[in-house]
């Protein structure tokens, strides 16, 4: 039997950059890089649905999440303090394959950086990270020890390259690409890598159950509709059908 929603006691819940929080819960959690948990920081019926958040790191007796405050659910979670508890279900989804070799690029846009620390820690090849942000870079300090190179781009040029992270990256330099971020960025990365380097992307969609039963989170793939929460969130780039 898998475990249903369980309580996690908050160890820290810190704003590490404007609107970006790092949440650490105490408890014995498990999961692979790229997998996620459904989080509920409230007992009431509004908000109704739990929120999917990727595993940012797992250490003995602790799990870390990195989240951006966007709407009501993440707002409520951001107000929770040490000692409070929240409910969570997981780990869910497939996750990134870490048994890979060669030169690997991690490409992130904004909060898409969330799963990359845990992923970088478990990859054994040579890892380069390319991270794009709107204004402020964050979370990279924690990732730096586990990667060969860190490349940063910000839209306003305040840190690193001014422009998009995809400007900095050449797929020919890598054997494998893992990407997480907004759809337009993923689309660009998929196109850049086409026929050159295999790329895997972590997809997002509104979820209800998180466990594969409601078919609410499906996306189009070349095989038909597939569930982000079950067949994903990590999909092979060329198999995703994007048509916004």
């Amino acid at each position: 039997m898998k475990e249903t929603y369980r309580k996690g006691i908050i160890h820290t819940n810190t704003e590490i950059s404007p609107n970006i929080y790092e949440l650490v819960l105490e408890g014995d959690f498990h999961g692979r890089p790229g997998q996620f948990y459904m989080l509920r920081g409230w007992e009431e019926l509004d908000p109704f649905l739990p929120r999917p958040i990727s595993i940012a790191d797992i250490d003995s007796g602790k799990i870390k999440f990195l989240y951006e405050v966007r709407g009501r659910g993440t707002h409520i979670i951001s107000k929770l303090k040490k000692g409070h508890s929240l409910s969570l279900l997981g780990p869910l989804g497939n996750g990134f394959d870490v048994k890979v070799e060669g030169k690997i690029a991690l490409i992130t846009g904004g909060i898409g950086i969330a799963p990359m620390l845990y992923l970088a820690k478990q990859l054994s090849g040579e890892v380069h990270i390319y991270s794009g942000f709107r204004n402020n870079a964050y979370f990279l300090d924690q990732i730096r020890p586990y990667v060969k190179a860190v490349n940063i781009a910000t839209e306003n040029g305040s840190v690193g390259h001014k422009g998009f992270v995809t400007d900095l990256f050449d797929p020919k330099d890598f054997d494998l690409v893992y990407a997480c971020g907004p759809i337009p960025m993923l689309e660009l990365v998929i196109n850049m890598c086409k026929g050159i380097t295999p790329v895997y992307v972590s997809m997002e969609n509104h979820m209800a159950c998180g466990i594969g039963a409601c078919l609410g989170c499906t996306i189009q793939t070349i095989r038909g509709m597939e569930r982000v929460c079950k067949e994903g969130p990590v999909f092979k780039g060329e198999e995703v059908v994007l048509n916004d």
Partner: protein, 298 residues
């Protein structure tokens, strides 16, 4: 103690997993033995496999959610081949939820299901009726009667008709369906609802409207079950916003023989187990030996 009888089929308890919120039970069976449920209503089936709708399919609202899955399903044959065997291995009562956009589609589906081990057909008459120009079968009594009476002729399984709360008059609809041959009724399906993305200046859903469910609709659904129980003499399965044992007892007191839990499964995969335990505790505390004692008591 909690067992109930529906048309001669015994359910261990009155809690049924609602169609479309529980898949075919596989995912939930990883969280609790689904055999503990009174019954399972399958994801809505159609004669042929369907890919479902494009665009956003799930949208949260105040104490509820809207969905526009669009009946993504493997088709009746696919279900019989790939999903039913899994359910047959479990000791659990099965409602095959069946939709269709023409009467022939329903009838062919029923004929395929007739020769299987499912216990009930739950006829979902909320799907858009292609012939009537997209209006669902479940809005006007006359169209509903047509599909139900044809279905009844063909079906070898007890026929439970699932009513839409968008029906013009829920009492008349219930009465018509029973007159047309429904052996039981389940209600309600989702409410037709709208959400707008004010920045895109477009509806959130590609189909414009979508179905509202969850605790937000409970007071209306409960009223409808109550009203329907006054005009028909067949078993009623109450549905709509049930997330606690108290909700379930309210529906039973309003006249339901059993209830279905839908959106509630999303806030906790084993919420049905909490509900069953809660009902048992309540019955013990109140000295209730059988749910018959409180059915329709208000």
């Amino acid at each position: 103690m909690t067992k109930v009888d529906i048309l001669g089929v015994e359910l261990k308890n009155p809690i049924i997993a609602a169609s479309g919120t529980f898949g075919f039970g596989r995912e939930f069976d990883e969280y609790f033995p689904i055999e503990k449920l009174g019954a399972i209503s399958t994801k809505g089936l159609t004669l042929n496999k369907r890919e479902g709708n494009k665009g956003i399919r799930i949208y949260e609202t105040a104490s509820g959610l809207m969905n526009s899955i669009g009946l993504q399903n493997p088709g009746v044959k696919g279900f019989i081949e790939d999903d039913l065997p899994f359910l047959e291995d479990k000791d659990v009562v099965i409602l095959a939820n069946l939709g269709g956009s023409t009467i022939d589609e329903y009838l062919e589906g029923i004929e395929l299901l007739n020769n299987t081990s499912i216990d009930f057909i739950e006829l979902n008459i909320s799907c858009p009726n292609v012939k009537e120009g997209g209006m669902a079968f479940g809005i006007k009594c006359s169209t509903a009667e047509l599909v139900v009476s044809e279905a009844k002729k063909v079906s070898k399984k007890p026929l439970i008709v699932k009513l839409s709360p968008n029906a013009e008059n829920i009492q008349e609809m219930a009465y018509s369906c029973v007159e047309a041959g429904a052996d039981g009724l389940s209600l309600v399906n989702t409410f037709n609802a709208l959400a707008i993305d004010i920045y895109k200046r477009k509806p959130v859903f590609e189909n414009v409207t979508a179905g509202l469910s969850g605790p937000c609709i409970k007071p209306i659904a409960l009223r409808m079950v109550y009203e329907v129980s006054k005009v028909v003499n067949v078993p009623i399965i109450g549905i709509g916003g049930i997330i606690s044992w108290k909700d379930a007892i309210e529906f039973i007191m309003a006249g339901a023989t059993a209830v279905q839990v839908g959106s509630g499964n999303f806030i906790k995969p084993d919420i049905t187990m909490d509900i069953i335990n809660g009902i048992e505790d309540y019955m013990r505390q109140e000295g209730i030996k059988s749910l018959e004692e409180i059915r329709g008591i208000i």
